[in-house]
């Protein structure tokens, strides 16, 4: 029970978790002031050669991929009829919603004039830009996730009529959410299609959009497993019997799905290499790094998931989900930072400034704090007593 005390809120204010997050938040606020008074140059190592750093590579690309649990879970339950995982929808949708919300917040640090973020929609639209598609889908999907999440908040607030309305939208929202996710998860990869001369050929591929989309499913499934094992450590007192009884089934089911999708992802990655006829590049240092990603973070988790499911080894599946999540992070970093601008001499390459990392940490921490605030108050891990078996 000791671990629960670390993160679960309680009467004591100075828990280790609160102290650490307090320090991070303070640091984040200080960097925020510097960013908005002295400019990007003061807090980042970005340069004219490297206009995108970890605020795009991590906060946007990784953030959006890891928030894919929302659409993956609600599609599984509402569209594919896996009713037995119904209890997992709310936590997944909540994480998805917060994920996207904090992606947008992170973007306000990165773009030069954040208050102009609506400009593509209200001033003039650069519809030839993949970034336009990303912006349109992310903002629409954020709205969808907000609506999908709203029943929980409305139950908490006791607004029955509004809640009923929101619940009736479930199927439409789910379908809409899957479309939007397909589009923007893939167009995040497509963003890099414009720069074949800058991205290493092992990572550059006309299939980039497909790679990003398929791997987002892996990310979504793995994140649900990963979060569910964390939540059942820290928030088990909030869970109802359906949640506790079903979570092992969930881990097995999602682990199996993740294994299958990873196998498919591995196959298309290999097809990508052969389509570009890039086999000879595998013998270069970049090639070895590519193999590390492909074998260590795609093939290995695929195998481990399969073994875990076969042996019904929940512990193995949980650890594998962490490996798969790290694999997604590694892939997004490779595409946007490591293999990008690979032709430049090392003194013109990018390495993040500590303050950039600080802001990313700050935003993740804020996300966790808001998550904790919500799950300790709203019916996320349990069914609200007033609305039994209704959704």
């Amino acid at each position: 029970m000791d671990e629960i005390a670390i993160i679960a809120p309680e009467k004591r204010l100075f828990t280790p978790f609160n102290i650490v997050s307090g320090i991070i938040v303070l640091m984040g606020l200080i960097i925020t002031v510097i960013r908005f008074t002295k400019g990007l140059g003061a807090v980042t190592n970005l340069s004219d050669y490297n206009p995108w750093g970890i605020w795009i590579g991590f906060d946007l690309l990784v953030g959006v991929a890891l928030a894919a649990g929302g659409y993956v879970t609600s599609a599984a339950v509402y569209i594919f009829g896996l009713k037995r995982f119904h209890f997992a929808v709310r936590p997944a949708v909540l994480t998805g919603f917060l994920g996207y919300l904090f992606v947008v917040i992170a973007l306000t640090y990165d773009v030069g004039r954040p208050w102009r973020l609506p400009y593509p929609f209200i001033m003039q639209s650069g519809t030839t830009s993949l970034l336009f598609e990303v912006a349109a889908c992310v903002s629409l999907y954020l709205t969808v996730l907000f609506l999908e999440f709203s029943p929980a908040a409305l139950e908490w607030l006791g607004l029955k009529k509004a809640r009923k309305l929101a619940v009736n939208l479930t199927i439409v929202l789910t379908i809409f959410g899957v479309i939007l996710s397909t589009l923007h998860q893939s167009s995040l990869g497509a963003l890099f299609l414009i720069a074949p001369s800058k991205l290493h050929p092992l990572w550059y591929s006309p299939y980039l959009p497909v790679f990003f989309f398929i791997s987002s499913i892996v990310a979504g499934l793995s994140m649900v497993i990963f979060e569910s094992s964390l939540s059942s450590r820290f928030f088990i007192d909030k869970m109802d019997s359906a949640h506790i009884a079903g979570k092992d089934q969930l881990i097995l089911g999602f682990g199996k799905a993740a294994s299958v999708v990873l196998a498919g992802y591995f196959a298309i990655k290999v097809i990508g290499v052969s389509a570009g006829d890039n086999w000879h590049l595998l013998a270069t240092p970049y090639g070895i790094w590519f193999l590390v990603e492909l074998l260590g973070f795609v093939a290995l988790p695929c195998l481990l998931y399969a073994i875990g499911v076969r042996d019904r080894n929940l512990k193995l599946i949980k650890w594998t989900s962490l490996l798969a999540v790290l694999g997604i992070i590694l892939n997004r970093f490779n595409v946007s930072l490591v293999a990008f601008n690979w032709h430049l001499p090392s003194n013109e390459r990018y390495f993040p400034h500590w303050m950039e990392i600080g802001i990313s940490l700050f935003i993740v921490t804020l996300g966790i704090l808001v998550f904790r605030f919500i799950v300790t108050r709203m019916p996320i891990f349990y069914e609200h007593p007033d609305y039994p078996e209704e959704h």
Partner: protein, 351 residues
């Protein structure tokens, strides 16, 4: 054969540029586009360039840029490789070719004003536009500062005001568009003492370049850089050594940037149209499966009930029959004993 200022003014007059060009702008699109036939361009002949950096100085002046850290006369600047920055729209680099047994070659870098610019195709607010004059212009009043244009530019040209906290701009050579519209030459072209820079209609410049290559085949590589690179550019180059050796990429290919992403974009309507159909279909199947399952369940329950009923009826029937039989037996017995008793009584009486 280069175009002098006077000639240029005549050219402007004949083309009616001042009015015809006006301010009309054309956005990037995914359709095939081969450039504006009447558009202007600049040819940089690195064989003629002596690295005096007067173009840099002129550019600095006509664009009101801040003083450079080192004066333009300071040749030591050339010791380091430089790129365009927020304070310098153009830079001249020296490429030592001692290995090839020749004197250093100087090359000027600035925006190439691509015919189908990657920057314009990447920008999600259309801040960049390819104009009819040939210049690719930038409109800071709509720019969000996402810097995707910088990611996209294959020539690494756009720079950014990283030190500007609240109103940073993307910065690049403007091809002196304001001056062109006034009928003047770009600042750098006007200032070049060696006529290493020539301004004119793009078609004419290609002819001039071909001519130079044909007349001095020993001095020139047989290639006009920018004629086809990335779909063609409005700034073109001649060189005496391989372009790669003077810091220019030769692996960019001739595919215009918008073509790189048009495939991915064309998938959007497909996904938007097909996914809902597919998903609703899957949903319907799931629902149907549930319905059938429910029906089957109901049926099973019904027949089970029926079966039990039948069994029960049967049992009841049996029981009834048994009971009847028992009843009969009881009655029979009773009758029999009554008869027996009567018979007994009769015989006793008779006795």
């Amino acid at each position: 054969m280069s175009i002098s200022r006077r000639k240029f003014l005549g050219l402007i007059g004949s083309a009616g540029v001042g009015t015809a060009v006006s301010n009309s702008v054309f956005a990037a699109s995914n359709k095939h586009f081969t450039g504006y036939p009447e558009s202007f361009a600049v040819l940089h002949d690195s064989v003629r360039c002596v690295g005096c950096r007067q173009c840099e100085e002129a550019c600095n002046k006509v664009n009101d840029l801040p003083e450079p850290d080192q004066p333009f006369s300071d040749a030591s600047v050339l010791d380091k490789k430089r790129r365009t920055t927020a304070k310098a729209y153009t830079v001249v680099n020296r490429h030592d070719r001692a290995k090839d047994g020749i004197a250093p070659v100087f090359n000027k870098t600035q925006c190439n004003h691509c015919l189908e610019p990657a920057c314009a195709s990447a920008c999600f607010v259309k801040a960049f536009k390819k104009t009819k004059t040939g210049a690719v212009t930038y409109d800071a009043s709509v720019c969000v500062g996402c810097r995707y244009c910088m990611m996209a530019c294959p020539f690494d040209i756009p720079a950014y005001e990283y030190d500007n906290a609240l109103s940073p701009k993307v910065v690049k050579c403007t091809m002196c568009q304001p001056r062109i519209l006034e009928g003047k030459l770009p600042g750098c072209v006007e200032s070049c003492p060696r006529e290493a820079l020539v301004f004119g209609k793009r078609d004419d410049l290609i002819k001039i370049a071909r001519n130079r290559i044909a007349r001095y085949p020993k001095n020139y590589v047989d290639h006009i850089y920018g004629e086809h690179e990335m779909g063609g550019t409005s700034w073109m180059y001649l060189s005496g050594v391989a372009f790669q050796k003077i810091g220019m990429r030769e692996d960019l290919g001739i595919k215009p940037a918008p073509e790189l992403t048009s495939g991915a974009l064309s998938v959007v309507p497909m996904v938007a149209a097909l996914w809902p159909v597919l998903l609703t279909g899957v949903y319907a199947i799931t629902k149907r499966k549930e319905k059938i399952e429910n029906e089957e369940k109901n049926q099973a329950v019904n027949s089970a009930i029926k079966a039990t009923k039948a069994v029960a009826e049967l049992k009841i029937g049996e029981a009834l029959a048994k009971a009847e039989k028992e009843q009969e037996e009881i009655v029979e017995k009773a009758v029999k004993s009554a008869v027996d008793n009567a018979v007994k009584a009769n015989t006793e009486e008779a006795a």
